[in-house]
Amino acid sequence: MSGFISILLTGLVFVIIYQIAKASEYATILRGEGKINARVNRTMALLLVLFFVLGLYGIWLCHDAMVDKMLPVSASQHGVEYDSMLLVTLTVTGIVFFITQTLLFWFAYRYQSTEKRTSFFFPHNNKLELIWTTVPAIAMAVLVAIGLRNWGKMTGAAPKDATVVEVVGKQFNWIVRYPGKDGVLGKRDFRKINDANNVLGLDWDDKDNKDDIIAQNGELHLVVNKPVSILIGSRDVIHDVGLPHFRMKMDAVPGIVTTMWFTPTITTAKMKEITGNKDFVYEISCDQMCGKGHYSMRGTIIVETQEEYDAWMAKQQAYYAANNAPAAAPAAEGTTAPEQKTDSVKAITMK
């Protein structure tokens, strides 16, 4: 019923608008079929300027309301450079925006048709055209230069001492794998995947896999101020590891391994203080459309101090041990790990 009434009302509004429009149209015809009515012309010129002024005010209002919600504090080293580059680009484009829009609306108003005015026949001017080809070209060159310098830095090789972790996407969550004690991620094979006891398809013939730790809750632990190199993969469709606070993003593509690296600079605890939000958490958002659960494909990142990290790591159990230990037959290589302290402790005790 309410639907019917609203449709009726909408219809009515349209009829009224149409009637008004028709009336004014007749009035125009009666007044004489001039090219365009002088009064209408003035009104429109004025309205355009009014729109422009209100628009600028609106931009200011919007900016005022949104500026704090916009760019989160950057929590990585290159994020700081990112922010300054963003600012430069914003400034350059902001100036161009303001000048060109002002000219557009000002010219429109200033040169509105009047009885007396005739237009100025001005088909071209090589000098002007040369100027406004070269000036944008130079501006672009500057932006490209800044951009490529930063791009080179952030996509360059990761530092040697970077920690390695793997993040794998699947519909619709993230799986994190740490290399364990040996610091090496073992081989995986998608044919060996089994949701019950081998979510990443680790190859148990590869001894590097035996100590690897897998977190299926999509929680990634990182050490503050220590570079991390992330290997990214996908089990099914394309996903994307989006890290807004670290200003980083990389697709997770089935069949290939992609990488990213960065250095987190602010711990989660510190970030809670900075943002004044006790629920603050770094999030991994899936940024590539991956199906109906795309919007809920969320991971988290905990940035902590080395001690906190070690303490947490000590509590983790190797995925192999947790899932295969009882049946793990030829344990020849696996058992010979004398000074296992952290990750493999449980593996040993279970044997």
Partner: protein, 605 residues
């Protein structure tokens, strides 16, 4: 409507190029051949336009539905259930269908409205009329072009009603998501229909494009040298060239996808575990599809943009009573855009794992394409400078076009610079960018064209007052909707999300999202003002009483008020000067028609 009969002999002696022209009916046409299977380019233009308008309404309505979800994730809208049935049980959109709606919205607006509806309408209407030809090079192919589009439309429309729903992998339909039925409901039959429909669409677009190019190159009337063509024709020429060269690549991409989906090939598939089992495919590359897609995808954005640019140039100049500034610079920058458009596609793929070095090259080329775009803007500004501006409805839209093109073009500089794109990619910043620059701005170009050439199409005017209302609500609304999205994007808020409330990083925009949705609904209703105005004016609009209401030097206004098939009664006109001679003709007019011979001693502009 006078159904003028044109004698072949009139054609023959005018110009060689028209010697072979034919197809003028010598008898009263039947309704079907006249309005349905018509080969008259003007009728085909109207068919494209009206089909486009219908699609635009459907596509926009979809955006209303998903904007309601985004703006009010915790509310229910029973009215949605009326429209969408079980897809919106209890008035709440289901996520699967949310994605289907988004996908269809994108596909419909990009391809069916802003490609077919825009180029199809104005290339058909304007090319023969403005170059002085009686019809297209092949009116029959031209008719086929429309009917392939129609067939494609029907299939896409049908896909909306099948049980598993239409395609839902985004308008870019990246595999493996789009290739595997297990990956999503929409990747079932819906996706097959989508691919078939799009393949037919490509056929339609090629048939049209080849025709536009050969018509422009071969069928110009006497004296209509290339450099005397209005910029609309130049723009439509480059649009057609872009389409003809890039649509086949898209087509090949689709064919491979069809193979992967149905015949067990592995072009795009490798090492996939889905639906509880490992698939046999190895060795394919999911990224290959993206290269093929964007090889069309980027030119496509200019396919959408160029007709608007051409029409805005024409309208700005005409209603400022002043020649377009930098005619040759405009053409050169369009050449630049056309060439560069083919070598920037990978700027959509900076974060796919592509080599960073390759990325750098695409950064360079991408920012290079901004230069010709900037030149065009400055030329438009100078065109209205010291003009004698009449704020007719088309002029308003042309001014809005320039404003929006500036706003949206500038954000391209952020996205084209890979070091910035790495954070902004696939966020609302991208949504804001392309909606402003190609969504709304192209629509403004189209509206400028419709309001300007409506009298030529239907012999009547559209209602001005409604036009002004439509203009202001749409312009203000477009900025209200899309401007704030930049802020969301800079915060990293991803696009194509159904609900943000579980995200600590993005939930601060809840009220902003509601605001945007309200604006979107209002703008939708404002478009209905246009629709009503359009259809009512066809039958009831103020009648045209003079041949050349806008005082335009170009040829289309030398035809009778209601031109029949063949366009000109008697000889086709001969052209003596360029199309922007807005100067005193000595008889109290402020323009000189292209058909007026140069005065003794007068130089060509």
């Amino acid at each position: 409507m006078s159904d003028v009969i044109i004698q072949g002999t009139n054609v023959a002696h005018t110009h060689d190029a028209h010697g072979g022209h034919h197809g003028h009916e010598h008898h009263e046409q039947h309704f079907i051949t006249k309005y349905i299977f018509s080969q008259d380019h003007k009728v085909i233009a109207k068919q494209f336009l009206i089909t486009g308008i219908i699609w635009a309404i459907i596509g926009a309505l979809m955006s209303v539905f998903f904007r309601l979800q985004l703006g009010f994730p915790n509310e229910t809208f029973p009215i949605m259930e009326k429209f969408l049935g079980e897809w919106a049980k209890g008035g709440k959109l289901n996520p699967e269908f949310y994605y289907a709606l988004v996908t269809m919205h994108g596909t419909i607006l990009v391809f069916f409205v802003l490609t077919a509806g825009l180029s199809g309408t104005f290339a058909n209407l304007l090319i023969p009329l403005q170059i002085g030809a009686r019809d297209m090079a092949s009116p029959f192919m031209n008719m086929l072009s429309y009917w392939f589009f129609f067939l494609s439309s029907i299939i896409m429309f049908v896909s909306l009603f099948i049980q598993t729903g239409p395609a839902s992998g985004g308008w870019t339909t990246y595999p493996p998501l789009s290739a595997l039925k297990e990956a999503s409901l929409g990747s079932g039959l819906g996706m097959d229909l989508w691919l078939v429909s799009m393949a037919l669409f490509v056929v339609s677009s090629l048939l049209g494009g080849l025709n536009y190019i050969s018509t422009i190159l071969n069928m110009r009337t006497k004296g209509m040298t290339m450099t005397r063509m209005p910029l609309t024709i130049w723009a439509l020429l480059f649009t057609a060239i872009l389409g003809v060269l890039s649509f086949p690549v898209l087509f090949s991409g689709f064919v491979l996808l069809i193979f992967d989906r149905n015949f067990g090939t592995s072009f795009y598939l490798s090492e996939i575990f889905i639906g509880g089992k490992a698939l046999p495919h190895v060795g394919g590359s999911a990224i290959l599809y993206q290269h093929l897609f964007w090889f069309l995808g980027h030119p496509e954005v200019y396919i959408i943009m160029l007709p608007g640019m051409g029409m805005a140039s024409e309208v700005l100049s005409n209603h400022s009573r002043k020649p377009i500034f930098g005619y040759s610079a405009m053409i050169i920058s369009m050449i630049g855009i056309t060439v560069l458009a083919f070598v920037v596609w990978a700027h959509h793929m900076f974060v796919t794992g592509m080599s960073p070095f390759l990325g750098s090259i695409f950064v360079l080329l991408t920012l290079l394409i901004a230069v010709p775009s900037a030149v065009k803007v400055f030329n438009w500004l100078t065109t209205i400078w010291k003009g004698n501006i009449r704020f007719t409805v088309p002029m308003m839209f042309a001014i809005g076009f320039v404003s929006l093109f500036i706003s949206g073009g500038l954000t391209g500089l952020f996205l084209g610079n890979s070091a910035l794109d790495i954070h902004l990619h696939d966020t609302y910043f991208v949504i804001a960018h392309f909606h402003i620059v190609m969504g709304v701005s192209a629509f403004f170009g189209m509206f400028a064209g419709i309001y300007h050439w409506f009298p030529k199409m239907f012999g009547r005017f559209m209602n001005n007052t409604l036009g002004y209302i439509h203009f202001f609500i749409t312009l203000a609304g477009a900025y209200l909707i899309f401007w704030p999205m930049h802020y969301e994007g800079i915060a990293g808020m991803p696009r194509r999300y159904y609900d943000y409330s579980a995200w600590e990083s993005f939930k601060q925009f809840e009220s902003l999202n509601s605001f945007i949705s309200i604006a979107a609904v209002l703008v939708f209703f404002a478009q209905l003002i246009f629709v009503v105005n359009f259809f009512v004016s066809i039958f009831r609009g103020r009648k045209m009483t003079t041949q050349n209401p806008w005082g335009s030097p170009t040829l289309e206004w030398t035809t009778p008020i209601n031109p029949g098939h063949g366009n000109w009664e008697g000889d086709i006109p001969e052209v003596h000067r360029w199309p922007y001679d807005y100067k005193d003709d000595g008889n109290g007019n402020d323009f000189i028609s292209q058909t007026t011979p140069l005065k003794p001693g007068e130089e060509a502009h």
